[in-house]
């Protein structure tokens, strides 16, 4: 490519590069810098606060902060249950859609995508009210069938949030898996049928292995989202603060440290830690699953 043309091409990306530096690199650098300091009160708090360089002290504190570690463990455990469950439903729905005519599939696909169109905060508001024993229909419905459930009880709050996330996510994941299914060469089915394979067998031995890449990807995206879960517990906290504490998830802790405790330095260290954990988790997951595919 001609030399001047190269630079003209680079010029097209300049606005983005500048913005990226200002909105991504600079904040990350600033967060790392902030995380190395600590606000300290001098002279019994009368002499005003001074900023002191403390090195990795904030990180040390974060790694031994039982509330932070518990919140991460809580979210990870939850992810191990909810994500496979949601993806299994999405996969089954995608397989069902693949088994009907494209006209029927198109209609159901729109219906199944309705939850995805609803903003996360609004979805949480709707479900919180559905769960509410006062206005929601689920409590009387449960009584009708002999269940006495309280969705805001400590043992029920994760299943309640899990149902909300599943409801919100199956449509999106289903569309991605369904699109991957459309890529399976149809001749493979013909060949399998001639060999006497049942539809179930075809789904298990041809379709599912073929969409493995899409499943890995949807799982990875879900894990990244889950480690950063904030909206749903925040909305639940609005109605049941005794069950959903303000240190329920890692981001809630970070937010509280920054804005309620006024401890930006510690919050910055925690968000760097969370980023590292996120990176490691995605890398490990990707490595594990892609090695199996090879």
């Amino acid at each position: 490519m001609i030399r001047s043309l190269r630079w003209k091409g680079a010029a097209f990306t300049v606005p983005f590069q500048l913005g990226f530096v200002f909105l991504y690199l600079l904040p990350i650098g600033y967060a790392v810098y902030q995380s190395l300091y600590l606000q300290k009160q001098s002279g019994l708090g009368l002499g005003g606060a001074t900023r002191e360089f403390v090195g990795l002290e904030n990180y040390q504190q974060g790694l031994t902060d039982s509330a932070f570690m518990t919140s991460i463990l809580r979210v990870v455990l939850f992810a191990c249950v909810q994500i496979p469950f949601m993806l299994l439903i999405s996969l089954v729905l995608a397989l069902l859609l693949d088994a009907v005519t494209s006209k029927v599939a198109g209609r159901f696909r729109i219906l199944l995508l309705v939850p995805y169109m609803i903003p996360g905060v609004v979805a949480a508001i709707v479900w919180v009210n559905l769960y509410s024993p006062e206005v929601g229909p689920l409590t009387p419905l449960g009584e009708l069938f002999g269940f006495d459930w309280n969705f805001f009880a400590p043992s029920m709050v994760w299943p309640a949030i899990g149902n909300l996330l599943t409801w919100h996510g199956i449509g999106y994941n289903m569309v991605i898996i369904y699109a991957a299914l459309q890529g399976v060469p149809r001749e493979l089915f013909e060949a399998a049928r001639l060999d006497g394979a049942s539809e179930m067998r075809i789904a298990l031995s041809i379709k599912i292995p073929f969409v493995r890449g899409a499943l890995v990807l949807t799982a990875l995206l879900s894990i990244i989202q889950m480690l950063q879960i904030f909206n749903e517990p925040a909305l639940f906290r609005n109605v049941t603060p005794q069950t959903v504490s303000d240190s329920f998830t890692p981001i809630m802790i970070i937010y509280n440290q920054a804005f309620n405790a006024g401890n930006y330095h510690y919050a910055a260290a925690l968000s760097v830690l969370l980023a590292l954990i996120l990176g490691v988790a995605s890398f490990v997951f990707y490595r594990l699953t892609s090695r199996e595919v090879d």
Binding site: I125, L217, L221
Partner: protein
Amino acid sequence: MALTENRKEKGAETAAVPPNGPAVRRRTRPDPAARSRGGQRFILVGLVLASAYSLFPVYWLIIAATKDRVGLYQSNGLWFSGFHLWENLQQVFTYEDGIFLRWTANSFLYAGVGSLGGTLIALLTGYGLARFDFPGRGVVFAAVVGSFLIPIALLTLPLYLMFSEIGLVDTPWAMLIPCLINPFSVYLAKVYTEATIPFELLEAARIDGAGELRIFFSIVLRMMTTGGATVFLLAFVNTWNAFFLPLTVLRGEENWTLNLGLYNWSGKRLESGIDVTSLVLTGALLSIIPMAIMMVAMRRYWRSGVTLGALK
């Protein structure tokens, strides 16, 4: 991979329109699943149940928005009881001097203007990355993909501190500026450019003496209408749905988004004991409507965007 997937998706979409398309081909094909009525019925039951699960909360929300407070607490949640939708709407729009309208306008402003600017920057960048070979291109693209993994808290908190230093916190700029830079939009724009802008066309335009900027604005941008619409739509939805960023950078009510306002209303009961549940529910229903209209009107764009974004 992304390109072929995209074409397939689009192909399936257009092929579904003529009545003699794949539907007929499917029927003439010896398809055991279609032949066994029982199997087909089982599949339909599964899909109907899943759709009912998807639609049930929306159904309930619509019914709840038509009830007054007494009805909300005392009547059967699954059916209508009195029709008070107009009173509820009036309440939503007049509560606290009509702040709800202000929030709606804010949401449209941030999502509309922010996404428009973000889309233009993304198209420029995607085109630059896809059709030019310059030193550092790999680094820029790696930054785009790598930034998908950065947690929102890591960006938002320092951004808040930086914005408060320069006096942007609590102004619309605090929402609009972050919308301008969207790595996912850049990624999509690059993929779309690769699919729609042939090198030969650019060569021909250059031989005819067109400048690079002119080529971009009068040729590339026009050919990228579909891709640009998809990028815009997804960015719009993203901003409309945003919660952590506005919660962090906006303090005063008058700059809030719909999401932030509804969140605040839903917490009111706990804080002050005022029950505004029917306001929250009617407001929630209203806030879905623009999204629903937009998504239905532009469904061919966003569906290809969603699948394209996932299948790299």
